[in-house]
């Protein structure tokens, strides 16, 4: 049952990710990316990452994608369409090397042993909830968490500085 659910979600994620890179109109690409992010969020829930699944929806599919759509509308990109790469040779090598990357990752995953096969670790009842993740974040990982706030501040200042109009 869970396997069938996983396969459906995986197919949706792969199909919509392909749509992102094959659509001519960037608005459609952005909408396909929302579908990809949504299906990945459901996969997070299957892997007991409840809090992060909702963060994924709120931050990625909400905030970041709104920003994308906003920039697409601002630049009015629908008029000048150039579609995928025109140079045939680069396109050919891009496809070949992407397929090689998949094969390589497949070989690596196949030849790696993950614990005792078919026997997954028992996890606590509150695994992946906001409270358990928050406790870890504010104790063991307090320093990286604080660095994160500085990173966001720098990003905010940087974005404001870059996007302001030259006087």
């Amino acid at each position: 049952m869970e396997l069938a659910f996983f396969i459906i979600l995986a197919l949706v994620a792969i199909a919509s990710a392909l749509m992102v890179i094959l659509q001519k109109n960037p608005v459609y690409s952005a909408l396909s990316l929302i579908v990809t992010l949504g299906s990945i969020a459901v996969l997070f829930i299957l892997q007991k990452a409840f809090f992060l699944a909702f963060i994924q929806i709120i931050v990625y599919a909400g905030a970041i994608m709104i920003l994308f759509i906003f920039v697409i509308m601002l630049l009015n990109l629908r008029k000048d369409e150039f579609g995928p790469e025109k140079r045939k040779l680069q396109r050919f090598f891009a496809v070949v090397f992407s397929l090689l990357l998949i094969v390589e990752l497949f070989v690596v995953v196949r030849n790696t042993l993950f614990g005792k096969a078919g026997e997954s670790m028992q996890v606590a009842e509150d695994f992946g909830t906001a409270s358990s993740l928050g406790q870890l974040l504010f104790s063991t990982y307090l320093f990286p968490f604080e660095i994160t706030s500085i990173l966001l501040l720098i990003a905010m200042i940087g974005a404001l500085f870059l996007a302001r109009r030259e006087e």
Binding site: V20, S29, L33, L52, L67, E85, V123, G128, T148, M156
Partner: protein
Amino acid sequence: MVPVTYYLLLSGILFAIGVLGFLIRRNVLVVFMSIEIMLNAANLAFIAFAREMGSLSGQVMVFLVMTVAAAEAGVGLAIIILFYRNKKSANVDDGNLMKW
């Protein structure tokens, strides 16, 4: 219970799709979206490993990756707006000022 290898394979395929999009597209916004796909593929691998190992550290890492992605989206889109303002184009081939 779905084996962790399936998740890793899905993550690898999504990452390869992101790489492919990065290489074949010329629209700077779609190139940026391909980077988001790659980040999400890495996140999926982290989550799968966190479940497999029964450790929440992997989920903390995903939390940090998401923060970096948000910062990156803010700064990156500001750069794209600046690029468009200077070149009147969103084609990555026009960003050739530093090309030798």
